[in-house]
């Protein structure tokens, strides 16, 4: 440890360290404090809100980003969004919402901005020494905590594909997170690569702003409109889950019949079963394919000078290529092994998708793609983590039983990654995962046997 300042670490006793002040970090701070913990939250940027804040250096927001999940399915369970907001709020509203959440619960006074955590080291059994990288010039600070919650997000390190000739390509290539300004599309011949939500949204922006738009996808994916049967689609589908099983299938098929036949007509077919991966949620996309303002193509084969060739033998000369190829999870501060990261894969293997398999007092919040709103899931995750830390302190015997339960919950969930692409390693079936979280919370909240 000599690489860090030789000063002794400042011991913060029973306090908990939260890394990141995005949505997940804020919810973690609030729920830990509600359960009586002292909390220090470290944010490497100078602002809160994480990816919803355009001032965050790593913000992936692109022109006109709106939620793809509807308000009622996205809001934090104990802090609803204003009910006069639209069904699908904008990124700016999302930031307003998170800012008022932080203000309402007095979270800011627990956040240290401009404080990147560069290292988290287990010490003394279950405690951690945390190293705060100095913003400018000063020595690194070291502090000790009883527990650490990592809420650093997984949408800030671009996943960049490699193609023959891409390095020498003469045209402009940007990752979706670098696009920012809509005027960049205006009048251009645009190629968008990648068929996730970012790719579909940006193709739609290009459809109305650019001179032309080609959208290249390497495989089919499931598309949902933003409304189904007159209701926000995620809400309409979630509601069916409270119907008896035999009816559910029938009702779901009936609701999806129209959109599915439209997708088929446009040549967009899914390769996976529903719930195995996040759907693309976009009401405009098919219309643009239908009126020709988005031309769909298959996979890119190579880049050459100013030209791009596709696997089907066609070519084009784009003014601007947008790589909407998603993100890779990246954990910079903690030894991968502690998160169950093995080999070359960047994907952690956590108990119940949140607890470190190695350290009882280390957890991750928000590392799931549930295909529904992420914030409510994080609310229940951090609720569980806070209760876990309480039980662990007060009742070691129950804590041990609980670990066993969580392990078995995780084993049911483990096995093969869902979906067909590595990115779906984070995908969970929200219905199944919430049920599992519910069981975990029930066990933790049971009155201890006296």
């Amino acid at each position: 440890m000599q690489e860090y300042s030789s000063q002794a670490a400042y011991d913060r006793g029973e306090a908990v360290c939260v890394i990141g002040a995005g949505a997940s970090g804020l919810i973690a701070v609030k729920n830990l404090r509600e359960n009586g913990f002292e909390v220090d939250c470290y944010e490497r940027d100078t602002v809160l809100g994480g990816l919803w804040n355009p001032q965050n250096q790593h913000s992936p927001l692109y022109p006109n980003t709106h939620l793809v999940t509807s308000r009622s399915q996205t809001e934090i369970p104990d802090f609803p969004m204003p009910d006069d907001w639209p069904d699908y709020p904008s990124a700016a509203q999302m930031l307003t919402y998170l800012t008022s959440y932080a203000k309402h619960f007095g979270l800011s006074e627990h956040i240290w901005y401009g404080s990147e955590i560069s290292h988290v080291e287990p010490v003394d059994g279950s405690r951690f020494e945390v190293v705060v990288k100095p913003a400018a010039g000063n020595a690194a600070r070291r502090l000790r905590y009883a527990a650490v919650i990592i809420a650093t997000g997984h949408h800030w390190s671009p996943n960049l594909p490699s193609y023959p000739g891409l390095d020498q390509f003469r045209g402009t290539v940007l990752h979706s997170s670098q696009l920012k300004d809509p005027s960049r599309l205006r009048g251009k011949h645009v190629l968008v690569i990648g068929g996730g939500n970012s790719g579909a949204d940006i193709a739609c922006e290009a459809a109305v702003n650019a001179a032309s738009c080609v959208h290249s996808v390497r495989r089919g994916s499931r598309h949902l409109p933003k409304y189904l049967g007159g209701e926000p689609a995620d809400y309409a589908l979630a509601r069916l889950n409270s119907r008896p099983k035999f009816l559910r299938r029938f009702l779901t098929d009936r609701l999806l019949k129209g959109p599915e036949s439209l997708a088929a007509r446009m040549g967009v077919t899914a390769e996976s079963r529903p719930s195995e991966e996040e759907p693309v949620r976009n009401g405009r996309y098919m219309e643009h394919v239908g009126d020709g303002s988005i031309q769909r193509r298959g996979e890119v084969a190579r880049f050459d000078g100013f030209d791009v060739s596709f696997a089907d033998g066609t070519e084009m000369r784009p003014d601007l290529t947008v790589l909407a190829t998603g993100y890779r999870p990246k954990f910079t501060s903690v030894e991968p092994r502690l998160l169950g990261i093995e080999g070359d894969s960047p994907y952690p293997n956590l108990y119940a998708r949140m607890f470190s398999p190695r350290k009882e007092t280390l957890a991750v919040a928000g590392l799931v793609e549930p295909g529904v709103g992420v914030l409510p899931i994080v609310h229940w995750q951090t609720h569980a983590i806070a209760h876990w830390l309480l039980v662990r302190k007060s009742d070691p015997e129950r804590a041990a039983n609980f670990r066993l339960q969580v392990r078995s919950e995780s084993e049911q969930d483990a096995g093969e990654p869902a979906g067909t692409s590595p990115r779906h390693r984070l995908a969970v079936d929200a219905e199944v995962y919430l049920a599992s979280l519910g069981r975990i919370i029930d066990t933790l909240e049971q009155e201890p046997a006296k």
Binding site: P77, D78, F79, P80, P82, D83, F105, W380, L434, G438
Partner: protein, 210 residues
């Protein structure tokens, strides 16, 4: 709020939104040099079953609460005071309270009077109130939801109500003993009885650690 309760609610149609009447008074509005906004003191949000709604708190309550250094607000639920009538029963009214609570600048204490106490009790099952004060409660469900975030709860009733079933049931549900105030449960907005009641609530608020 349990996870199961949230799942159920997220899958139930939300009450129709209404434009809610909301009255508030801040310590600074008193123009009194001696009264300072206390940043440590939780704001207060009041509601009553009285049809006047938020306006009922204008005569005395809001100013008086602000005098103690707290941001003071009151809301009219659907069909009350200046808030239009809209569909929905108890649940929708609790929704109105929660919607008002999240617009209060900081985590708020909920004070409910008469039927308003029932709405506040339900609201506290979804929103982590900084405290819950039930004044002469009426129509509180037999098993009110466990308040989120474990706030302290105060039950205050008129002397004439101490022995009623209603009072007993609420006291039992929250495991607390009622405090009493002199005067009638319908006459809490002005007069000597109201002053005494407010004193009791404010000193409880000041004593509870939040």
């Amino acid at each position: 709020m349990s996870l199961a309760a949230w799942v159920r609610r997220a899958r139930t149609p939300a009450p129709a939104p209404v434009k809610r009447e909301y009255a508030f008074f801040e310590p600074a509005d008193l123009f009194d040099m001696d009264i300072k906004d206390d940043p440590e003191a939780s704001p207060v949000l009041c509601c009553t079953g009285d049809p006047a709604g938020a306006a009922a708190f204008n005569a005395l309550w809001l100013k008086r609460i602000a005098t103690s250094g707290r941001y003071a607000a009151a809301v009219s639920v659907r069909g009350q005071g200046g808030t239009p009538i809209a569909e929905g029963g108890l649940e929708a009214r609790a929704h109105d309270i929660v919607q008002a609570a999240v617009t209060v600048p900081r985590q708020a204490v909920l004070i409910g009077h008469k039927e308003g106490a029932a709405w506040a009790a339900l609201a506290a099952g979804r929103y982590p109130a900084a405290g819950l004060v039930l004044v002469s409660p009426q129509k509180v469900p037999k098993q009110p939801p466990t308040p989120v975030g474990n706030p302290s709860v105060l039950l205050v009733v008129a002397e004439s109500e101490t022995q009623t079933k209603e009072t007993q049931a609420v006291a039992d549900a929250y495991g607390i003993a009622p405090l009493t105030f002199a005067g009638s449960p319908d006459d809490v907005f002005k007069g000597a009885g109201a002053e005494g009641l407010l004193d009791a609530i404010l000193s409880w608020l000041a004593s509870k650690k939040d």
